[in-house]
Amino acid sequence: MTAMSESATKTAQALTVEGLTVHYGGVCAVRDLSFAVPAGEAIGVIGANGAGKTSTLKAVMGLVPRKVGTLRYGDVDLSRVHARAMVRHRIGYVPEGRHVFAGLPVEKNLLLGAYVRKWNAETRATLAEVYEMFPVLGEMRGRLAGALSGGQQQMLAIGRALMARPRLLLLDEPSMGLSPKLVEEILAVLLRLRSEGLSLLLVEQNAKLTFEATSSCLVVENGEVAMRGTSAQLRHDPQVRRIYLGL
């Protein structure tokens, strides 16, 4: 994983989002949201289903129509960058696990992650690194992605994003549909990515996973920030515990 981590730490930059708003039809999904992902940090966004978490992530990527005041990555203005060009700015997007290319083999899925790069020896090296990180994908490389289990598909979605050697990874509910044991594995993966210097923006409904994987969090409700703080603070906040943990 050395090559991947090296490039990440050297050039880590901060993502700044200010005044992000998303409308679907007449419905406001995200309202005037602001946050930042400092270089090398992991930031979590938690909230109930329908609170606007996924919309936030897609809006940052530019996958849904949005209005945004400031969207900056380092000193690059991203507010006019098309979703397909984000990857060239080394921002990777990990959609929720079902969104692998189901009818293509595992290896093709991974290679497509490196679509904007030349498919050469360097890509092969990255592929080997991903297989090293997720041995199960190596075993399944010839299988159709749609035939993988939920956990394997999630690994594949992360692996696919890593193929582009991102420095910032946007993750949409990586714990979705996974058993507790698999969630632990995902957590280990996230911690490893952090230790290698990637910045993470993690959207989750699993508060436990999020608090352990990130340094600070936003709690969103109805498309607005209801609370923000360090993950350690929020984890002990009585209101968070009541609403999101049911205690």
Binding site: G25, L178, N206, N222, I243, G246
Partner: protein, 591 residues
């Protein structure tokens, strides 16, 4: 209303006086236009209202015309007897052509119906009885005592009356229960089925209607031209008909008529340059689908929306929910209303559910919780009949209900909402509720023909009950609005009102609190409690643990497609497996 009657009267008088201003060629054109208008209305009913892609409309037209020709010339029967038999024959063919709709939809249905239309032209071009490529000529003039129908002027009045009748009948259907159900099916067949609409019967009804209109048009055509030949029923004419419906606006019957009249007139105007005409209407079809998908009929609404933006809808306010009356002794209390026995559901190697068993007692509020993707919605889909389980049985109200069609379960007293809201977007809020209220069987639709007053009276009664229901849920001011324009929280409430309008014994709520704010969640729990107190059993899938804990008497916890715990809220919350899977063990330690 008065304005409408006046407009109608003016149109009627104008239509009646029209022949006086036309020469004999013009009246012929008008007569053909009326026939195309009838065809277009039939296609609009099937495709626009019912959502069934039907590229065989021209074949229905052909069957009607050919059957009339064959019966009058070959069998020597009278015109009107032949006409009735011809319409019956077309209906039979319509049912036949519609059968594939039970299995396939959209483009598949398009190609199958187109293929069957080609098969029809192929048959008439070859069959001796149909006269081969020359067709059949010398069809006798239809007789009517005292009226000489060989005069195209007088034939016009016959057509006009028939046209007015079938158009009125079409509008009658669209604006009452049957049409609402068809539109609901077009919008979302899955949700319509879950509300008790018999989707297969409705699809056949759509084709049956298309064929009746085709048959009537065919009969009129045979009587008017008195000659039939294969090229009148070619695919080119099918596409012309399709263009009429698309350009006019497929979801509006009046639009279909306007499209038919307009396009035929343009074609007539360019009669010396048929290819130019074809080029023109092909281009218009492309432009319409890209820029004005609702056709000409949709333009006024779009204009109004463009001009009067920001005014509409803002005044409507949500009123408080008015609780149901409490039933002292809910029926069948204590007996299980729903039993799931070791259900497994596999999708291509993915085990979504693994031997899930569940028993819900009548009168309880049951919570089903679990992490995202733990199989909760899959379980609902199995229970409500959307999926047939790989293994295991479901019993509902004491009867085996495994793999029953959703509409059968709905009619047996099961109702549900959907995680991602499946309101019918092209219907108003009130119509959404009306679809659920309507419990009549679709095959009773013959009432439309023989007991129209009964249909109207029933519809009025449905409207009254819909207003009551909307009033109870505080939604009265939103009745006439399209649901997709409303805030999320109100849409959620509309969906619950709709599910309750079906009069269920068991209500399944799939994440009813998703996207709601604190106050809305509080109102929701009040509503759910009242629903239970009225004698309805409720099962809630929910993430919001606070809501589940306070609302439910019993909770079933799923993780990874298995039941990992079941019991009272306090009990479940302390089960180690649940803490591990859902709440997180570290929380327990620090808490």
């Amino acid at each position: 209303m008065r304005y409408r009657i006046a407009t109608l009267a003016i149109i009627a008088v104008a239509a009646w006086l029209l022949p006086y201003g036309l020469d004999s060629y013009a009246i012929h054109v008008v007569n053909v236009i009326l026939i195309f208008a009838i065809l277009a209305v039939g296609l609009g009913l099937c495709m626009g209202v019912g959502g069934q892609v039907n590229l065989a409309q021209v074949a229905f037209f052909g069957v009607g015309a050919y059957a009339t020709a064959i019966l009058t010339t070959r069998a020597g029967w009278g015109f009107w007897v032949s006409a009735l038999l011809a319409i019956a024959a077309t209906m039979a063919i319509g049912l036949l052509v519609g059968t594939p709709a039970l299995r396939v939809q959209s483009h598949y249905l398009g190609i199958v119906t187109l293929g069957l239309a080609l098969a029809f032209t192929n048959w008439v071009t070859n069959a001796q009885i149909a006269g081969g490529a020359e067709g059949i000529s010398a069809i006798p003039v239809p007789t009517l005592p005292g009226v000489d129908l060989s005069s195209e002027y007088l034939y016009y009045y016959l057509e006009l009356i028939v046209f007015a009748l079938v158009l009125a009948f079409g509008l009658f259907i669209v604006r009452t229960a049957l049409g609402r159900r068809m539109r609901a099916m077009r919008d979302d067949a899955l949700a319509a089925g879950a509300l008790g609409a018999e989707v297969p019967v409705l699809r056949m009804t759509a084709f049956l209607l298309a064929s009746v209109y085709g048959g009537v048009a065919g009969v009129l055509y045979a009587g008017l031209i008195r000659y039939v030949a294969p090229e009148s029923f070619s695919i080119a004419n099918m596409f012309l008909l399709l263009a009429m419906v698309i350009i006019g606006g497929r979801q509006s019957l009046i639009g279909c008529v306007v499209g038919a009249v307009g396009l035929y007139l343009v074609r007539e105007w360019l009669v010396d340059h048929p290819t130019v005409a074809q080029l023109a209407y092909g281009t218009v079809v492309v432009l319409v689908v890209v820029f004005a998908p609702t056709g000409l009929a949709g333009l006024p609404k779009r204009l109004r929306a463009a001009l009067g933006r920001g005014r509409a809808g803002s005044a409507a306010r949500l009123q408080p929910f008015r609780p149901y009356e409490t039933r002292a002794e809910p029926a069948g209390q204590g007996a299980p209303i729903l039993e799931a026995d070791r259900i497994s559901m596999h999708f291509r190697g993915l085990k979504a559910l693994d031997e899930v068993s569940l028993s819900v007692t009548a009168g309880e509020i049951r919570g089903i919780v679990g992490p995202n993707g733990s199989g909760k919605t899959t379980l609902f889909n199995v229970i409500s009949g959307l999926y047939r389980p790989t293994r295991g049985r479901v019993r509902f109200r004491g009867r085996d209900a495994t793999g029953l069609a959703p509409y059968r379960l709905a009619r047996a007293g099961m109702s549900r909402t959907f995680q991602n809201l499946r309101l019918f977007g092209d219907l108003t809020v009130e119509e959404n509720v009306l679809v659920a209220l309507d419990r009549s069987a679709t095959w009773h639709s013959w009432h439309y023909l023989l007991r129209p007053v009964h249909v109207l009276r029933r519809d009025r009664d449905l409207h009254r009950r819909a207003r009551e229901s909307l009033d109870r849920y505080g939604l009265t001011e939103f009745a006439a609005l399209p649901p997709k324009s409303l805030p999320y929280g109100i849409q959620r409430r509309v969906e619950i009102a709709r599910a309750m309008a079906a009069g269920p014994a068991l209500l399944l709520l799939d994440e009813p609190a998703a996207g709601l704010n604190g106050e809305e969640v509080r109102q929701l729990s009040e509503i759910v409690r009242s629903i239970r107190d009225s004698g309805v059993t409720v099962i809630v899938i929910e993430h919001n643990m606070g809501l589940v804990m306070s609302l439910c008497e019993r909770i079933t916890v799923l993780a990874g497609g298995r039941v990992i715990a079941e019991g009272e809220p306090a009990e479940v919350a302390t089960t180690p497996a649940v803490i591990e899977a859902y709440l997180g063990d570290s929380m327990e330690v620090t808490g």
